[in-house]
Symmetry: C2
Subunit: 621 residues, 2 copies
C-alpha cells in the first residue's frame, strides 16, 4: 500500500484544458498513480488509453494532446531537461509520443504542473499561458501563420518576459501536415508522429510557461553524488566527448563504410561524399557555436549560420545526425548548406525532418522510377541529389501546395495514392518513416522498428548494443546478462536483451531523461528512488515499463492494429544495391524474434494481443 503523501519530483497536479469551451481545471494525481505510470511516456500512454474513444479521428477535437514531465524533469542533473508529448497519431493512427529537450519541461514543472492534457478545439487560434500555478487561454489570431521564431518572439514580447519557454507550431502544424512536429523553442522538436498537426487541429498555436518553484527532491545527496560521478567521469565517456565536440553525426563516414548509413532511400550503400555533410564538416565550415538543454554541460546542439547562397538563421540551431542523413545521404544530397537550410525551414514551419527526408527520398525514388512525373511535381526534377528540389518540396509540404498536398499525408498514404507498386519505396512501419539507422546491420533495431507502438522510431531502441567488450556488458550485469553474443544474432538471448533495452528506454522516456547520458539502468532506477523517495529499483522499473508498453500495445490493438502492422519494408530483406555485399535481414528469423518478443511481453505469440492474464496482472483496465 503506497502512502498518500506526494513523492518527491512531482507537483501532484495535471492541468486539464478543454479548448472547446476554454475550461481549465486541475486534476490531482496521487502517489500510487505516479508510481504505476511514472510520468512522461507513461502518463501519455495512460491518458490515451483511458480517455480516447476507439476510432477517434486524430485530428478531431476529441483527441488528447498530452505534455508530460516525469519525476526527474527539472532536477538539477544533466539530461533532465526533457518531457514527453503524445496523442493519437494522425500519421499512424496509433499512439504517438515523442520526447524533447531544451528547457520547456523543467519550466512547466517549476510552474507547478506535472502534465497538461489538452482536448477539444478552440474556435479561433489561441495559445496557453502558464505561470506559477496560474493559467490562461489567450488569443493567437495575430500569431497564426507565423513561423516559430516570430511566434516565440511575439509571445515573449506581449507577456513581457524573455525567459518564457514556448512550445509551439509553425505553418505545417496549422496546415495539418501529418508529420508536423511541435517545437520547443526553435531548435528542439518533439518530432515524430505528427503531434504538431494535432496541436494545429485544436487551433492551439503555443504553450508558454514560466515558473519559479524548484521540484522537491527526497534525497538531494544521492542526486548530487550521481551528478558528481558524471562530471568526474565525463572525459572517459567517449560518446559525451564526441557529442560535446561535434553534436551528433560525427561518425557518418564510418557509418557509410560499414553500410550503416541510409543512402538514397535505404537503397544504396556507397555515398563517397559523406564527409561533406557530417558533423566534422559542419564544425569546420558553418558552425558558430553549441547550445544545450536545462542543467546539461554536454551542449550537444549545433548552431550554424551563413548568408550565401541563402541565409540560415542561427536561431534554428543546426542539423543533427538524423537530419543530416534524412535530408542528406538518404536523398542523395551532399550539399551541406542545403541540408542546413532544410533544417531551418523544418524548424520554422514545425516539420519533422526525419519524416520530411523519408517522404522526399520516397518521392525521388518514385520519380526516378516513373511513378511520379515532372507533371506531378509542377516542373521539379525530383531526383536523388537535387538539393534545390528538396528545399522547394519542403515549402510545398508546409503549405500543402501542389505535390506537397499529397506528400503532406506521409509516405504510406502517398504510396497508396500513387499506387502501381510505389509502396515498395515506402520505407516506413505503421506509417512512420524509418529512423536513419540501418536494421540490416543491427537486427535488434529491425525488431524495434517492427514492434515499436509508434512505428519505425529509432529512439526506443537507440542503444541496440554491439556488446562485445567487457565494458559494454558491465551495465547489463545487474540484468543477469553476463555473456557476450554476436551483434547480428537475433535469437532468444538478443530478443530478451532487446526487451531490456526497450524497457530502459521507456523508463528514460517516462522519468524523463536523455538517452545520451551514460546512466546505467541501475543508476536510472536509483535516481528515480532518490528523487521520489520510493524504495524502488530496476525490477520495479521493468514492471512499469511492461505496464506502459502493454498499455500502448492495447491502445493500438483497440485502434485496429494487428500483427500484420508489425512488419518491416521488404527492402530490409534485400542487400543494398551498390558497393560490397551488405547484410540483409532474414524474414523468418525476424518473425521468430517478433513472436518471442510477444511471448516475453506476455502477449499472444501469434496475434501479439496482450493476454487477459497479463492485463490483469498489470492492472490494465
Amino acid at each position: 500500500m503506497i502512502a498518500k503523501q506526494l513523492p518527491g519530483g512531482y507537483n501532484g497536479k495535471i492541468m486539464r484544458v478543454n479548448l472547446s469551451d476554454h475550461r481549465i481545471s486541475v486534476q490531482a494525481i496521487d502517489e500510487l498513480f505516479c508510481r504505476k505510470y511514472l510520468g512522461g511516456a507513461g502518463f501519455v500512454t495512460y491518458f490515451l488509453w483511458k480517455e480516447l474513444r476507439q476510432g477517434t479521428d486524430a485530428l478531431a477535437p476529441d483527441n488528447r494532446l498530452i505534455f508530460a514531465t516525469g519525476p526527474v524533469t527539472g532536477v538539477p542533473l544533466p539530461g533532465s531537461g526533457r518531457h514527453c508529448i503524445g496523442a493519437k497519431s494522425p500519421l499512424t493512427g496509433g499512439i504517438a509520443k515523442s520526447e524533447v529537450g531544451e528547457f520547456w519541461g523543467a519550466e512547466l514543472k517549476r510552474a507547478g504542473y506535472d502534465a497538461i492534457v489538452v482536448e477539444g478545439k478552440s474556435e479561433k487560434p489561441v495559445y496557453l499561458w502558464i505561470h506559477d500555478g496560474e493559467a490562461s487561454i489567450r488569443d493567437a489570431q495575430h500569431l497564426w501563420g507565423g513561423n516559430t521564431k516570430e511566434t516565440q518572439e511575439a509571445i515573449r514580447a506581449e507577456l513581457g518576459d524573455n525567459k518564457i519557454r514556448v512550445a509551439l507550431i509553425g505553418s505545417a502544424g496549422e496546415n495539418l501536415v501529418r508529420y508536423a512536429c511541435i517545437m520547443n523553442g526553435l531548435h528542439d522538436s518533439a518530432g515524430r508522429g505528427g503531434l504538431g498537426a494535432v496541436m494545429g487541429s485544436k487551433n492551439l498555436k503555443a504553450i508558454a510557461v514560466r515558473g519559479h518553484k524548484a521540484p522537491q527532491i527526497r534525497d538531494r545527496e544521492r542526486v548530487r553524488e550521481l551528478k558528481q560521478w558524471l562530471l568526474a567521469n565525463m572525459p572517459q565517456f567517449k560518446l559525451l566527448s564526441t557529442l560535446r565536440e561535434f553534436g551528433t553525426g560525427a561518425a557518418m563516414e564510418i557509418f557509410e563504410s560499414v553500410g550503416n548509413l541510409p543512402v538514397r532511400n535505404f537503397r544504396d550503400k556507397l555515398f563517397p561524399e559523406v564527409n561533406k555533410i557530417d558533423a566534422q564538416a559542419i564544425k569546420n565550415t558553418i558552425r558558430i557555436g553549441m547550445e544545450g538543454c536545462f542543467a546539461c554541460p554536454v551542449r550537444c546542439k549545433k548552431v550554424v549560420q551563413f548568408q550565401e547562397p541563402y541565409p540560415v538563421d542561427p536561431a534554428y540551431g543546426g542539423p543533427e545526425y538524423e537530419t543530416l542523413a534524412a535530408l542528406g545521404s538518404n536523398c542523395g544530397i551532399h550539399n551541406l548548406k542545403a541540408i542546413a537550410k532544410g533544417n531551418e525551414l523544418c524548424g520554422a514551419y514545425s516539420l519533422d525532418t526525419m519524416s520530411v527526408g523519408g517522404v522526399i527520398a520516397f518521392a525521388m525514388e518514385c520519380f526516378e522510377n516513373g511513378l511520379l512525373t515532372i507533371k506531378d511535381t509542377n516542373g521539379i526534377e525530383l531526383r536523388f541529389g537535387n538539393d534545390e528540389a528538396m528545399l522547394e518540396i519542403i515549402e510545398l509540404i508546409a503549405r500543402r501546395e501542389g505535390i506537397g498536398e499529397m506528400l503532406a499525408e506521409g509516405t504510406a498514404r502517398a504510396a497508396q495514392i500513387i499506387g502501381r507498386g510505389a509502396s515498395e519505396f515506402a520505407i516506413q512501419v505503421k506509417g512512420l518513416e524509418a529512423g536513419l539507422h540501418e536494421p540490416r546491420l543491427k537486427p535488434g533495431f529491425g525488431l524495434g522498428y517492427m514492434v515499436n507502438p509508434h512505428g519505425a522510431d529509432h529512439c526506443t531502441n537507440m542503444n541496440d548494443p554491439m556488446y562485445a567488450t567487457a565494458e559494454q556488458l558491465k551495465e547489463l550485469e545487474p540484468l543477469g546478462i553476463l555473456e557476450p553474443f554476436p551483434v547480428t544474432d537475433i535469437g532468444p538471448r538478443k530478443v530478451a536483451l532487446f526487451k531490456a533495452i526497450q524497457s530502459k528506454q521507456i523508463i528514460l522516456d517516462s522519468s524523463v531523461l536523455c538517452m545520451f547520458l551514460p546512466y546505467s539502468i541501475k543508476q536510472v532506477a536509483d535516481l528515480v528512488a532518490a528523487v521520489t523517495g520510493w524504495d524502488t529499483g530496476i525490477t520495479e522499473q521493468l514492471v512499469v515499463a511492461e505496464r506502459i508498453l502493454t498499455m500502448a500495445r492495447s491502445f493500438n490493438i483497440r485502434e485496429g492494429f494487428t500483427v500484420a502492422d508489425d512488419t518491416l519494408p521488404q527492402r530490409f530483406f534485400q542487400p543494398k544495391t551498390d558497393g560490397s555485399p551488405t547484410a540483409k535481414l532474414d524474414p523468418l528469423e525476424m518473425e521468430s524474434a517478433k513472436a518471442y518478443y510477444y511471448t516475453l511481453m506476455g502477449w499472444d505469440a501469434a496475434t501479439g494481443i496482450p493476454t487477459p492474464e497479463k492485463l490483469e496482472e498489470l492492472n490494465i483496465t
Copy 2:
C-alpha cells in the same frame, strides 16, 4: 564478460568423490559459473542436469549426491549456517533438494570447498573426512547400523576432535527407506526427498568436516550493516521473537481455529487437543533449552528431555512445527511425549518426520477404511490417535520390517500396492508427502505444491503472504507489487506474486540463507552483492532463479514428468469434514493458475515444458 578472479564468498573448488574407485579430485569453478548458478540449490540443480543420464535409478551408483554451500554460507551473519543437499529422488524420481542448518555447511566452507559431488558406490561402508583442504575416505564398517548419535560420537572420537561437524545417516538411510533424510548433527535434517537413502545406497555413512579458513567477504562493512540492522530491529520482528521464545509451532491453536492445521490426514478440521502439543505446551512441560545454528542469535531449536514413560535423549533436540503436525494432529495424536519420542527416533534413524507422519496418517486412514487390516499390520491397531502404534510403525519403517517394508516405499507407492482406491488417501504430489500447511486456505501454497519440482514441499512457498497490511506489502514494492489483493485470490496477480516468492526462496536456497530471517528480497540481493563483490541486484537474482527453476523443470521433464504430475490430491478440492464449513480449492482456478505460472516462467502453457527459446535465452544446454 565476467572477470576471471574469484568473487568473495567462494573457495572456487568443488570436491569430486567417486566412491566406486575411491578417487577424490578437485574441480575448479570460475566466477561466471558462480554467478550463473549462485550455489546451494543452483549448484545441485546444475550438476544433476548436466551429469545425470536420463533414467538413472536414484539408488544406483550413477546418481549424484551433492552437498552445496552458497556465497553466504559461513558468512558471520544470522541465517548463514545453511547449505543444500540434492540428488535424484528415490521417492519422486525427480529432482530432490533440501536445505539444512546447524554448522556443517559453514564448516565445509572453512575447510576450503564450496560443494561436494559424490558419485559411485563404495564396496564397503565408508565415511568421508575433510579438513582444511585435505580429504580422505575412511572405513565405516564398524559404524554401519549405528544410530546417528553413536556414529557422530565415534567419528569425533576416532578423529580426536570434538568440534568436527558430521552429516550422516542412521539405519533408515542404510535400509534405503525412500524418505530417509540426511542429518546434520543430531537435530537438523536435510529432510525431504529421500537423500538419506541415496547416501545409504552409496555405502556412505557420514561426511565429517573441519576447517579454519574464514570465507572472503568483499564488502565487510555492508555485511556488518545488515547484521546490525537485524540485531537492532530484532524485537520488532514478531516472528523472530516467537521463534526465539518457542521455536516453530507456537501458533497451532490459531492454525486449528482457522482451519489451517492438518488433522487426521488433512481430512478434518477440529482438533480440540491442539494446545497439548504445540510449542507453548512444550515450553511448559518437556523443554530443557534452546539451540541454534552458526552465527544465529535466534536459537529457534527446541531441546526436550524426559524419562517416563520412555526416555527421550536431549541430543536429538525436540519436534518442530512440521513434526508436531505430522506425527501429532495429522495422525490424530495429542500425546506430546509420543511425538517427542517419534522425533527422537526419526533423528536417530535419519527419517524425514514429515513423510513419516504423512505415511502413517495415510496408513491410519486406510486402516480405518478397511484397506489395511490388523493382519497387514501384524496386530497393530493402526487408528488415528494411537500414539503407540505411531512409534511402533516408525521402528518398522526404519528396519523395513512387516508393514514397514511397504510403508518405507512412501505413500504413493504404498497406495499403488494397496490399490482399491487407497490413492484417495495419499496426500502427496509427485510422490512427496505434503508439507503440513493447508492449501485450501492459501491457494498460493496449493500452486506451490503443484508445480514445485520437488513435489509438495512447503519450503519453496513458505512465505505465501496474507499481504493485507502496508507493512507486509513494503517488501514487495521493489518488485512493482504496490496494491493489496485478497489472500484467497489465485488470479494472475497472485500467480505473478507466487513466482516472485518462489524465486526469492530459490535464491535463499542457493545463497544459502534461512527463510526465517526477515531479510527482504532486496536485502538478500544486496547481501550477495556485498559478499561477492558483484554489481548485482534483484533483477539479476530473479534471472538466476528462473534459470535454476527452469533447469530443475527440465531435469524432471527428462525423467518423464508431464503436466499431469503437477496435480493436487483430490482432497484439497473438497471442504474438510467436520467443524464449520471450510474453504476448498477450485480445480479450474488452480489449472488456470498453473497455466499462467508456466507462461510466466517461459514454459509452454499447455505442457509445462520450457520452450526452446527460453532454454536458449537462459543458456540452459
